[in-house]
């Protein structure tokens, strides 16, 4: 099953540059064109009553930007914050405008140039991450890198659903 990214500019299709980062000991990649910047880990402000994969919000030069914990989102074992922990700030286009969000990475490795023809479709099952987030898999030497779909990872459309569940939980709670 190939996932076609419809809104990827042609230039990216050709070069296929990806930023590789580490998460719970495994390697992942985001298309470089979706990345706005990488910032050092800084203390976040927690937001109540949001899904638990949202770690909080941070101040990015006066803008308030949410930060997502992919460990939780992907169901991976949690990792402690180390000096190498950082936040990758992504931007994706949505109908309502440009959405800027950060994701936590345990470590940022390098930018790799992935030839398009080497990208394989993700396996339908058996992958360590739900296939909906994966754009493809690439093998470089002995490394296996999961290329992520930034839009899907940041997609908050199902979050409102989470909000509803929380409300119901509150009601049931008493």
């Amino acid at each position: 099953m190939a996932i076609v990214e419809t809104n990827v500019p042609a230039s990216q299709k050709r070069t296929g540059k990806h930023l590789v980062f580490r998460l719970a000991g495994e390697e992942y990649g985001f298309p470089i064109l979706k990345i706005q910047e990488i910032v050092q880990w800084l203390e976040l402000t927690r937001v109540p009553r949001v899904p638990d994969f949202i770690l909080g919000v941070m101040n990015l030069r006066g803008k308030v930007v949410p930060v997502i914990d992919l460990h939780v989102r992907f169901g991976l074992p949690p990792a402690p914050v180390t000096p190498r922990t950082c936040v990758i700030v992504l931007q994706v286009q949505r109908e309502t405008g440009l959405l800027v969000s950060g994701v936590v990475a345990d470590d940022v490795m390098e930018v790799v140039d992935v030839p398009v023809e080497q990208i394989e479709s993700p396996p339908e099952f058996g992958a360590r991450v739900s296939t909906e987030f994966i754009a493809g898999i690439v093998q470089i030497e002995n490394r296996v890198i999961l290329l992520l779909n930034a839009e899907k990872v940041l997609d908050s459309r199902d979050w409102t659903f989470v909000e509803k569940v929380l409300e119901e939980k509150d009601q049931a709670h008493e």
């Binding site: 203390e43 976040l44 402000t45 927690r46 937001v47 109540p48 009553r49 949001v50 949202i54 919000v57 941070m58 101040n59 006066g62 803008k63 308030v64 930007v65 949410p66 309502t96 405008g97 959405l99 800027v100 969000s101 908050s156 979050w159 409102t160 909000e163 409300e167 509150d170 009601q171 709670h173 008493e174």
Partner: protein
Amino acid sequence: MKVPASELIRAFVSEYRQLVGETRAMLDGVMQSGDAPCRLDAGAFSLLGRLAHTLRDNGLFLGFPRLAAIARVLVDLLRVGDAAKTETVLTPAQAQLLVKGCNLADQIVESVETQQREPSMEMELAGFSQAARALGFSWEVEPFSRASGGYREASPDMSDAEKVERLLAEEPAPASPEPASSVEGASPPSAAADMTSIFAQDAEEILDQAEQDLLHLEAEPARLNNLLRQFHTLKGNSGLMGYSQMQTISHRLEDVLHHARDRQTSLGPDSVRLFLKAVDVLRRCVVSLRKGGDPAVPDYEGWLQRVDAWVGSSPVETPPHPAVVEETMPAQSVSAEPPSAADTNKAAVLVKPAAQVGDGIRINVERLDQLNDLASELIAATAVVMHLSECRRGVDSEQYERACHQLDLITSWLQKLSMSMRMVPMELAFRRLHRLVRDLSEKTGKPIELQLVGAETEADRRVIELIGDPLIHLVRNAVDHGIESPEERRRLAKPETGTIRIEAFQRSSEVWIVISDDGRGLRRSKIIEQGRARGLVKANSPLRDEQILDLIFEPGFSTAEAVTEVSGRGVGLDVVRKNVERLRGRVEVQSVEGFSTTMTLRIPLTLSVINSMMVRVGTEQFALPVETIRELLRPSPADVHRMANRGSVISVRGETIPLFRLADLFTIGGAVERVDEGIIVVIEDGERRAALLVDETIGQQRVVVKSLRESLGRITGVSGASVLADGRVRLILDVPGVIRIAQERAR
């Protein structure tokens, strides 16, 4: 309502200044061309054309004959070119005349603005007229009945009509019917894209105004003159842009008006209806233009025939058979069938869904000047601070403090000013309601009086934009489900004509919009029944009246069958609430069963900066909007009472208020447990109150609100975030939401 002369003159001057602002640089360029022929590109050319037309029309209309005469020469002069050409070349003599005319016009407008009348300027005018005649242009200052000039009451005297006639005669003949359709297709107007958008915005404003005039024509026949002017201007503008179909239709409509005015009568109700349809058709042209399409009139030939038939028959005394109107509007589904609820929904289609404030905004020049001044003061003040921080040694703290204080002062002025520039009158949101009610009333067969109060109330333009849809929703609901049929009202001994009243006003830092109708009100028993059926209400749980009425805002109540069963309200009320909450506002409903329903929308005046109280809970801090805090308390444990299974309450001077730990509501660890360890903040939202236990209050602060909606969606209890001086992000609590969470806990 008669618009005072000074008001009209002011509007004209402001319009003129805007146009001139855009043409000034161009004219400078023209002057510099010296003896060489002067070249104007299409954008410049049509701008100048609009300027000339505006001057001429307003000169005639407001009774400034010299201005009109100069402008007429300019219009004639600009006729050498043509809007469809990419470039127009003027001879040096023509260019000089153009610049001279514009300068003279400028002087006249200046004096009109300050003294409300034209200066005589015999010498200058003589020079100009000579130059004009030398180039073959006719020069004629229309004799004017009142020598002093100034604004003339719109009177139906013949000389007036004659003047308008002249005005029309001068226009280039409207495109003859046969080539008209091909013109639109063959040569797309070559004017620059921004000209198109200026034209579109103007056209929208003109059509909006025309609609208002039409709707009030019956009560105020003098508005006929306004209408004449609207269509005349539209005709002129469309002509300049080369939109011949719009031009022709406007021209014919103007003829109809002219005709009516000749007979010193007004338009009959059927004519008004035709005009309203025409306004819709022209609007559609503008919409298509905005989308980058062709401003072709849908069913153009049909419209020409229709309007011509109108002119041919006598539109006033004997309006054609109503059936003509009905059957000539196939696209708009005016049905002769008895009105049904489904029809009313269709009716709303005619109304633009949202109040469009437009992309541009008109700003008073004075405010812009102030902005400029403040900006330069800010630069100066910043320089002082920078300087002081550079030579840190030898600066006493008082000096530094003073500089910082100055900076703070200027910044807050700047913020106030920039906010005031965003304010627009409520009228823009009210505009569509007359038409809506008229259409709905016609379709449902319910006579309705719409009362609008406080249209001049100002609010942030985003508020006006977002409030348009909810208003339309609420009015539609009121007509559809609130107001009874005339028969029923008679039976109930109510006046046959239903009343919908919408009132806008400012109260402290909020805008209130109160929508009330004298219809059948809300039936509690039905609402509860529906609530139970949808699982929103637990069986046998007692509900307070406001809680019952609140149920109508639940998404479950928005379905069609609930609408009819629950005595009415419901169409998208959850959407109404959502929109209002997006503005950090809230909706309240009151209703007397059988008599009335009142919806109150309360919206903060400004969206971007709020005064807030910072509170700490555990290691976290939150901002609470100051206007939601009733008091701060340090109670003794004796005032707190535990209720079996229902949490705690605190008694404050005899009043019992439910008590919560904010730490519990937001699951925060490490916060104080006992009331005597912390401080209690009593928050209120209308009638609802809650006492929140926090660790401490930190102080008041003005914070800039940043929305989290786009990135995180709606979070109950949190209205936004703000970045504070220490660089940390703090959440701003949404008090109605916090109270809702608290109530759910207590339930």
